[in-house]
């Protein structure tokens, strides 16, 4: 902007003097010529004003540019801070990673104990409700079928009640055993087990046909009494305590 204004002012003045110099001014009327000294002074004044404005503008611009260049100049303290932050970030990520590792390995070592305690808890409940451990730990060979049968009923009375209380058990296959059934090629391998002649290559879209030998069981919920957190002690776990009558 500034350059355009200055240049055009200079150009105007130069053209004017040039015109005078080549004598083109002679074609101008007397009136114009008589006012020439006045016009000459006006042009000089305009020129001076332009130069003044130009000077002021260039001064301003120089200051602005100086300020700008000062801001652009890299600050050493800030950079140091940034570097410090970045190094901390890296260290933190590393520490987090190590923490995760430590926790995982700790859990891996602790988990079996909780799981084992829960398993013993189930055994303990089945013993309490249905004498399962008594039944299995006794020597079955030395008793008659009638005695074994009577004992089996004890198990069934107690354990079936407990089982129904703790789990919601129903058959996986809702039809009857011996029924023919068809499985799609991509069946749920956890819910079905194929036995007999199971061929390797089955055409895309083909299905498996077979007879249901066992209907399977599933539980839709687990409602086991939970161990209080502080009760996961070390082995030996007590399945049933010694009973002493006072």
């Amino acid at each position: 902007m500034r350059i355009v204004v200055t240049a055009s002012a200079m150009l105007l003045i130069m053209v004017y003097y040039l015109l005078q110099y080549v004598g083109l001014a002679q074609i101008k009327s007397e009136a114009v010529l008589s006012s020439f000294p006045l016009q000459k002074d006006l042009f000089v004044a305009v020129f001076c004003v332009f130069m003044l404005i130009e000077g002021v503008l260039s001064l301003c611009c120089r200051r602005e540019a100086k300020e700008k260049s000062e801001a652009d100049k890299p600050d050493n303290t800030l950079n140091e801070l940034r570097q410090e932050r970045d190094s901390f970030k890296t260290a933190f990520a590393e520490a987090q990673e190590r923490l995760r590792h430590a926790e995982a390995s700790l859990q891996a070592r602790e988990r079996p104990q909780t799981v084992d305690a829960e398993l013993v808890n189930l055994l303990s409940l089945l013993q309490e409700k249905g004498r399962l451990v008594d039944f299995l730990m006794d020597d079955i060979a030395s008793y008659s079928d009638a005695q074994v049968g009577a004992a089996a009923r004890v198990i069934h009375q107690g354990c079936s009640t407990a089982l129904r209380e703790y789990f919601s058990i129903s058959p996986v296959f809702t039809g009857k055993e011996g029924e023919q059934t068809e499985l799609p090629q991509h069946f749920d391998a956890k819910s079905y087990r194929l036995i007999g002649s199971v061929k390797d290559s089955v055409k895309e879209g083909a299905s498996y046909n077979g007879t249901v030998v066992h209907r399977g069981w599933k539980t839709s919920a687990v409602n086991m009494p939970r161990l209080a957190a502080q009760d996961v002690q070390n082995p030996p776990w007590i399945i049933a305590p010694v009973e002493i009558e006072l």
Binding site: E128, R131, A151, V154, P225, R226, D231, E243
Partner: protein
């Protein structure tokens, strides 16, 4: 969110339950109750066994840890729930059961630490009020612990809480139940009779359909046989301005007889049979026998094709094969013992056998002397007739004015069953059949569709919603009994003759909650600095008595309750001065009874307290 939660509490003799709902929603949800399931084990059940076990010194560390709301390191005085009952059966001197029945036992001080009854094992005992309070506190802690599930912190502070009591509970037992609830931290509790709660549960279950299942003129019997108690109520259906009206017109006596008695009776029968055949059933084996016959009974009564259920009773020792006794419970035996023993066919005129006075000397729980529930029912219906007949307004409402015969029964047209006992269809059929025979009417209907175990809690919750919402049909009930203060008759002394005590009616039957009545005609003179005692009576067969009515011979015509006592501190008056007072009776909003003596010439007033110390 004032009053946005509605909670129903069923404090049962053998099992307790809770139900919760929001004021704006229809669904009523029963609350799973976390409870100790074994040493260091926590489990959830839909009901809380109303049993308290007092752990021995060596057990405390073992039993303190399992409840999630008990902070680590803290211990509760006793253990509540199913495990408490199971484990307590093996250590019976440390087990408290049926605390609720003790609440209405007038022969003992119900605030005194007397339970476990006659036990020398427990150093620290508890009062019936304490035990009820501990059960209610467990329900409260459980609800608070699971509060996120129900959506808020202020559940217990802001909600409407309805607690059920047997219809047969007298005012003393009701007041004590309320006291136990307050002690357990429940605020703003309202009391509701259990049979009414069962009826509300039926309305809630039937939805808008219920109005088509009953008609004006119906009299509905609510027949509630719980684990330890039997409770009867009659609800009349009438029509007013095209709207159905429900009116609870009669309640029965408190009968300590229930499903647990039936299991015990059958277990004893099996034990005797086994012992007659030379097998011995030890005391520990008898415990498992009781559990086994319960299961066998339920199967026999629900599966018609079964003729017998074999059971095996294990010994306490480790060898199952060696120590197990086999037996079978046959259908005949179960029907003989339970159906004929507890629900025998009988005539309307049959009265249950009364306990002889001598039997009271032991002051245990006053178990019913006659196990025949049907005979208790016959007596209830006879007395209900008497009750309705004594009130001409009520009698004309029910169209009974013309009947003159004293021995007539007030026969229901429909029956709502409640309690686990009635899961067996044979019991329901027996009752319906008998009612049919007694009334001669073509049909006595059964109102179906409630959960027999949880109906009371659900119905209480429904009633809490009615109270919170302020609309919906409520059963017109009021006080179940009328109450009387004893007045000495002034007559010349005759040696060897006790002047009869008159009963002055201070609360008429059916007095609504929130009413205050002053007896202007009764003025007493009280001596300051001295304790004054009043004899207090009640009746559930005198609906006709109005406030101020006088019964000539209170001792024979009314049931005597715990006495009332008051003492005016000498500091308030000059000692020895005779202060003129009159009686003011309040039936509070929550459903408890308060009696006050008001100074005739000033604003001074003194509350009469029930004297719960043993009458002996």
């Amino acid at each position: 969110m004032g009053n946005s939660f509605c909670i129903g509490l069923d404090l049962g003799t053998s099992n307790s339950a809770a139900a919760v709902s929001f004021a704006g929603e229809d669904e009523i949800r029963t609350v799973p109750i976390s409870q100790t399931a074994g040493p260091g084990l926590l489990g959830e059940k839909s009901q809380l066994a109303s049993a308290c076990y007092l752990p021995a010194a060596h057990e405390e560390a073992l039993l303190a840890s399992s409840l999630p709301w008990v902070p680590a390191g803290e211990q509760r005085d006793c253990l509540v729930g199913a495990f408490a009952r199971e484990h307590g059966a093996l250590v019976p001197d440390r087990l408290i059961t049926s605390a609720k029945s003790w609440l209405c036992n007038a022969h003992v001080d119900r605030r005194a630490a007397i339970l476990p009854w006659k036990s020398e094992a427990a150093l620290h005992k508890f009062s019936p009020v304490d035990v009820s309070s501990m059960i209610l506190a467990h329900l409260r802690d459980n609800l608070h612990f699971h509060r996120e599930k129900w959506g808020g912190d202020d559940l217990l502070k802001e909600g409407q809480v309805v607690l059920t009591v047997p219809a047969s509970f007298d005012e003393v037992a009701r007041n004590l139940t309320y006291e136990a609830a307050e002690k357990a931290g429940w605020e703003h509790v309202t009391l509701l009779e259990e049979p009414q709660a069962a009826f509300y549960a039926w309305i809630a279950a039937a939805g808008s359909e219920w109005r088509s299942q009953v008609q004006p003129g119906d009299i509905i019997l609510v027949c509630d046989v719980g684990g330890g108690t039997t409770d009867f109520s009659l609800i009349a259906v009438s029509e007013e301005d095209g709207e159905l009206r429900l009116h609870r017109i009669s309640v029965g006596d408190h009968i300590l007889l229930g499903g647990d008695n039936m299991d015990l009776a059958l277990a004893f029968a099996v034990k005797n049979r086994l012992q007659a055949s030379g097998q011995t059933v030890g005391k520990w084996q008898f415990l498992s026998l009781v559990q086994l016959v319960r299961g066998a009974k339920e199967r026999l009564f629900s599966e018609c094709a079964l003729s017998e259920v074999p059971i095996s009773i294990a010994g306490r020792g480790g060898s199952l094969f060696r120590d197990t006794i086999s037996a079978a419970i046959t259908r005949e035996e179960a029907e003989q013992v339970i159906l004929e023993g507890f629900f025998p066919r009988c005539s309307v005129l049959d009265k249950p056998q009364e306990r002889r006075a001598a039997a009271l000397q032991e002051f245990g729980l006053p178990y019913a002397a006659d196990a025949a529930i049907t005979k208790h029912l016959a007596r209830f219906l006879t007395e209900s007739f008497k009750n309705v007949k004594s009130d001409s307004t009520l009698a004309s409402e029910l169209g009974l004015l013309a009947l003159e015969n004293e021995d007539t029964i007030l026969c229901p047209t429909a029956v709502l069953f409640n309690g686990g006992v009635f899961k067996a269809a044979v019991m329901r059929e027996r009752i319906l059949g008998l009612l049919h025979d007694w009334s001669g009417s073509p049909e006595v209907r059964e109102l179906e569709g409630t959960d027999l175990d949880l109906a009371v809690a659900r119905g209480a919750c429904y009633y809490a919603k009615l109270r919170a919402g302020g609309k919906g049909l409520r059963i017109k009930a009021g006080t179940a009994r009328s109450y009387y203060v004893g007045l000495e008759t002034s007559m010349p002394a005759v040696p060897g003759y006790q002047p009869p005590v008159k009963g002055l009616c201070v609360v008429a039957q059916g007095t609504e909650e929130g009413s205050v009545s002053a007896l202007y005609e009764s003025e007493f003179g009280l001596v300051t600095g001295q304790a004054a005692e009043f004899r207090f009576f009640s009746s559930n067969t005198r609906a006709g008595d109005v406030l101020g009515a006088v019964v000539e011979n209170a001792a024979t015509e009314l049931d005597e309750m715990a006495g009332l006592e008051v003492s005016i501190p000498a500091a308030e008056m000059r000692p020895g001065e005779i202060v003129p007072v009159r009686l003011e009776v309040r039936v509070t909003e929550v459903g408890t009874l308060e009696l006050w003596l008001v100074h005739v010439n000033s604003d001074l007033r003194w509350k009469l307290d029930f004297n719960l110390r043993a009458a002996s």
